[in-house]
Amino acid sequence: MNRWLSRSYLTLVYLLLYVPILVLVVFSFNDARTGYEWGGLSLRWYHALFGNRAMVQAMWNSLWLALSAATVSTLIGVLTALALHRYRFRGKQLLNSMLFIVMMSPEIVLAISLLALFLLVGIQLGYFSLLLAHVTFCLPFVVITVMARLSGFDERLPEAARDLGASDFTMTRTVLIPAIMPALLAGWLLGFTLSLDDVVVSTFVGGPGYEILPLRIYSMVRVGLKPEVNALGTLLLVFSLFMLMLSQWILIRSKR
């Protein structure tokens, strides 16, 4: 009896989690005009999606933004993590806690303050302002991922490299960076996904000249749910599954 209860409870939880996603995937192949009836299999919504030039443009914009934001924040984040790990300097503790503040503060606060800053400095809202904003909220995640890896790092390895004749720079390139590579990639992937599905900050600091996917979907849904969104959702689902598998594969490979 007890077992039956716990089993069905578990089933219910999983149903709640996955049925909506399943419905979305199934209905992306629906030939009917509305989402309430089944009209047979078809790829028409995928055609419609790729025929929608504004939509495709938003998709590319989003991908490009996520790619550049993840890359820039990884570069800055790795250097920050190395500095925090290797050197003792004035204000180190402050810098460390500031990273956490960015991570913990409500997104809306970050969004408003960034908007105020951009307006004050006179940065035009568009790709550049979005990039700056996305780098800002991705950065702490990269730093913390890399720092976690560095904390388990054998301090003798850099010394061994120096001892064998490597300069500080060569040592960093040949020993330190390879050692933190998995964390670096994980941080990059984290940044990429965070950037790709961000709505709140992007709503504030985005401009009309550079439309990104989440905002585009949001505005589409407001007008009325089009089956195109289902197709888009399915594509995004496949993409994130692929990214998830990629990150797992990197992790497993690094542990060997």
């Binding site: 054998d154 003798r156 390895l157 010394e159 061994a160 490299a161 120096r162 001892d163 064998l164 004749g165 490597a166 300069s167 060569t170 040949t174 020993v175 390879p178 050692a179 590579m181």
Partner: protein, 373 residues
């Protein structure tokens, strides 16, 4: 002895105001096997790290064959280190680990290949070149670490407790291996350990360190048989201390009252005068255990006996509670050679085998001995 290779002059170091090394002078000879021996926290690892260049001394200088090393970064010093936990690069194969140092020197590929394979053969790992460090056993990793350091043909090899992570048997094998390598390569070895047995069996000379100061510098035999002070005597090997009082000083000998026993001893190296207290040191193997009716010796009873295969180690408690450690070889001709617990015996030694040390005000026991120095 030989030419001086590395010379440390007035080297001192403090961490956060706490002195670790105090104005230390040390000359290391070319081609010797020198061991830095001491309990953990005695400064031996810091001293090694200063030689390698990972730490800067607060005062003093290092000179290697006439060249001042003091301000040189580690990558420009002609010496290499074998680290305690090997510090092999986990993402590189054995071959790449060993080749790393030569690549840094920008040697041609063929030369690198030849030298790497040579040195791998020397440590009997030529078939493991493609393996990653985590696919090797502890002893094999150890040998890779040594190969990686010696492939650069350093003037001096620094070894930081390289055997402490190995089990006893492998440790003994590696001790022999290291000695062989040192003979074949002719490289000067500076070896850090807290294991006095290892220090005695491997070294040409031993430096006994305590609280950043050199207690004694000498051959293993000197350090064991003629310890400079109570600390060295206690730290290197087992020692029995008997309190003695000088009753008279003669031209070449000395009359000492050892716990009521009148003995004639040789004059020690330090100044002595009548009525002074001295410490009479005897190693367990110098102790003779006699029958209870023997006129010589101090009376006591056996409270512990340990059969060790080639020797019989026993602990004898004297009348005043002092415990004496005795280690005797089996006498094939004496079938009765054994004791029962509680058996009354007398403890003595052969005149001339004792070693005298002046009374020290504070004779602190050596610090805890654990894995990290």
């Amino acid at each position: 002895m030989l030419q001086t290779l590395l010379s440390l002059d007035n080297v001192s170091k403090a961490f956060d105001g706490k002195p670790v090394l105090a104005a230390l002078d040390l000359d290391i000879c070319d081609g010797e096997f020198l061991t830095l021996l001491g309990p953990s926290g005695c400064g031996k690892t810091t001293l090694l790290r200063i030689m390698a260049g990972f730490e800067q001394p607060d005062t003093g200088s290092l000179t290697l064959a006439g060249e001042d090393l003091t301000r040189l970064p580690p990558e420009r010093r002609p010496l290499n280190t074998v680290f305690q936990n090997y510090a092999l690069f986990p993402h590189m194969s054995v071959y790449d680990n060993v080749a790393y140092g030569l690549k840094m020197e920008k040697r041609p590929r063929e030369e690198i290949h030849k030298r790497v394979m040579e040195v791998l053969e020397m440590v009997q790992l030529q078939n493991f070149a493609r393996r990653k460090p985590h696919q090797l056993s502890g002893g094999q990793q150890q040998r890779v670490a040594i190969a990686r350091a010696v492939v650069k043909r350093p003037r001096l090899l620094l070894l930081d407790e390289p055997l402490s992570a190995l089990d006893y048997k492998l440790r003994r094998t590696m001790q022999g291996e290291l000695k062989r390598l040192q003979r074949e390569l002719g490289i000067t070895f500076v070896f850090v350990t807290h294991d006095q047995e290892e220090a005695l069996s491997m070294s040409d000379r031993v430096v006994v360190l305590r609280d950043g100061e050199i207690q004694q510098l000498g051959t293993p035999r000197e350090v064991y048989e003629r310890p400079a002070n109570l600390f060295t005597a206690r730290f290197v090997g087992e020692t029995n201390f008997f309190p003695g009082r000088i009753t008279s000083v003669e031209a070449a000998r000395l009359r000492v009252d050892v716990m009521g026993l009148e003995r004639t001893l040789q004059l020690p190296r330090f100044e002595v005068s009548e009525g002074e207290s001295v410490n009479v040191l005897l190693r367990p193997e110098d102790i003779r255990v006699l029958g209870p009716d023997d006129p010589q010796g101090l009376p006591g009873k056996v409270i512990e006996r340990n059969y060790k295969g080639s020797t019989l180690d026993s602990v004898i408690e004297l009348a005043d509670g002092t415990q004496v450690l005795a280690s005797e070889f089996f006498d094939e001709d004496d079938p009765a050679f054994d004791y029962n617990l509680g058996e009354p015996v007398r403890v003595s030694w052969v005149d001339g085998w004792e070693w005298l040390l002046p009374e020290e005000s504070v004779a602190a026991a050596p610090g805890d001995v654990d894995e990290d120095g």
